[in-house]
């Protein structure tokens, strides 16, 4: 997968919080309108949309704090999947 995950992430957050314009670096947990249950939804969205399972050691709030951090997580995970496929 070579497409930039940011567009999907922006669109998901935009549909849920139409009143807020988020930058890629903005800490969505610091904005005060999301809670821990939404964090769980973010995990499910990322896993479903990008076809991956976030490993336990990556399940931290920091990885879901911003569009940028989620995008980096997706790229790490899909990159790893591709490299393991290439070597198998």
């Amino acid at each position: 997968m070579t497409t930039d995950p940011r567009a999907e992430l922006r669109s998901f957050l935009g549909s849920r919080f139409p009143q807020v314009e988020l930058t890629d670096e903005e800490d969505i947990f610091a904005l005060g309108f999301v809670n821990s249950l939404f964090a769980m939804e973010l995990v499910l969205f990322v896993e479903r949309t990008f076809g991956l399972e976030v490993p336990n050691d990556e399940l931290t709030l920091d990885n879901f704090r911003s569009i940028k951090s989620m995008s980096e997580l997706v790229q790490r995970q899909t990159g790893q999947a591709q490299s393991s496929q290439a070597t198998s």
């Binding site: 849920r16 009143q19 005060g32 309108f33 809670n35 821990s36 249950l37 964090a39 769980m40 939804e41 973010l42 995990v43 499910l44 969205f45 479903r48 336990n56 399940l59 931290t60 709030l61 879901f64």
Partner: protein, 287 residues
């Protein structure tokens, strides 16, 4: 370690089974719907996995799930010392369950009713052991909420209260004692708020988002009444209002027609993927 029966594998039953198994108890989770049992076990697995994200602590998912067995009938609860009942918030559903439990369980087994509104004395009347029937109103999501309402019925014994407090202590739950009264503290107040918030949306006075925004941004509540309604389940909100309306014969509890329409349409809130708001966890309830 206590042998714990959990009856009803909906959102609350799954949460209670999770918390009890996490505390080291052996759990038998009962539901007449095989699909609900499967969904409950998946929910426990998912929530164990999310524990690191939500609490910072990792949980051994296999160990927790390994302490939960499932069964299709309360006949499987013959060895349980404590049974937590979490079936649908309707007296006509709960009453026969208590009668069946009374037959299936030893005389010393305590029955904990996890009810939103139904008086505990009434639950006790469906058994031959009203002294061993007590109410504990767990909050959703059960593994994340540290306080519960503890409601002894009119005939509940001091020994039952003591054993229930000990059991809650093993799960890290702080009991807040409340006298037996339909709706207790939480839902006498919350259901009126949720119902009036639903009326605002029903009448077109405000959108659901605007209602919740007032509570979050003006009052500093962590979530608004309609997001809370979605978390509880719109069907459970409706049934709780019906119980309150019937019990007090007071029109202030008349359910907003929108809640009935949403319940009929399957828009049951977070567990269904949609209620007043949409959620990513779509289809869980039907899974």
């Amino acid at each position: 370690m206590t042998s714990v029966g959990v009856v009803g594998a909906g959102v609350m039953g799954a949460g209670v089974a999770h918390s009890a198994a996490l505390a080291g108890h052996e759990v038998v989770l009962v539901d007449v719907r095989p699909a609900a049992l499967q969904a409950a076990v998946r929910r426990v697995e998912r929530d164990c996995r999310m524990s690191r994200l939500l609490t910072g602590r990792s949980v051994d998912t296999a160990a927790v799930v390994g302490r939960i067995t499932t069964a299709g009938s309360v006949a499987a609860l013959g060895d349980c010392e404590i049974v937590v009942e979490n079936v649908t918030e309707k007296w006509e559903v709960k009453r026969p369950v208590y009668a069946e439990l009374d037959d299936a369980c030893p005389a010393e087994t305590i029955f904990i009713g996890n009810t939103s509104a139904i008086p505990i004395t009434r639950l006790g009347s469906a058994t031959n052991r009203p002294d061993r029937v007590i109410g504990v109103h767990f909050m959703n999501p059960v593994p994340m909420k540290s306080a519960v309402e503890l409601i002894p019925g009119r005939l509940t014994s001091a020994e039952t209260v003591k054993r229930t407090r000990e059991f809650l202590g093993t799960m890290g739950k702080e009991p807040i004692p409340v006298k037996d009264s339909c709706g207790f503290i939480s839902n006498r107040v919350l259901m009126l708020t949720v119902n009036e918030a639903a009326f605002l949306v029903h009448e077109g006075v405000a959108t659901a988002a605007a209602v919740d925004e007032v509570f979050r941004n003006c009052f500093g509540h962590p979530s608004g009444p309609l997001e809370t309604a979605d978390l509880i389940g719109i069907d459970t909100v409706l049934y709780s209002l019906e119980v309150l309306y019937e019990h007090y014969a007071d029109p202030k509890y008349r359910p907003c027609p929108l809640l009935r329409e949403m319940t009929d349409a399957g828009l049951h809130g977070r567990k269904a993927g949609e209620g007043f708001f949409a959620y990513e966890s779509a289809g869980e309830e039907r899974g």
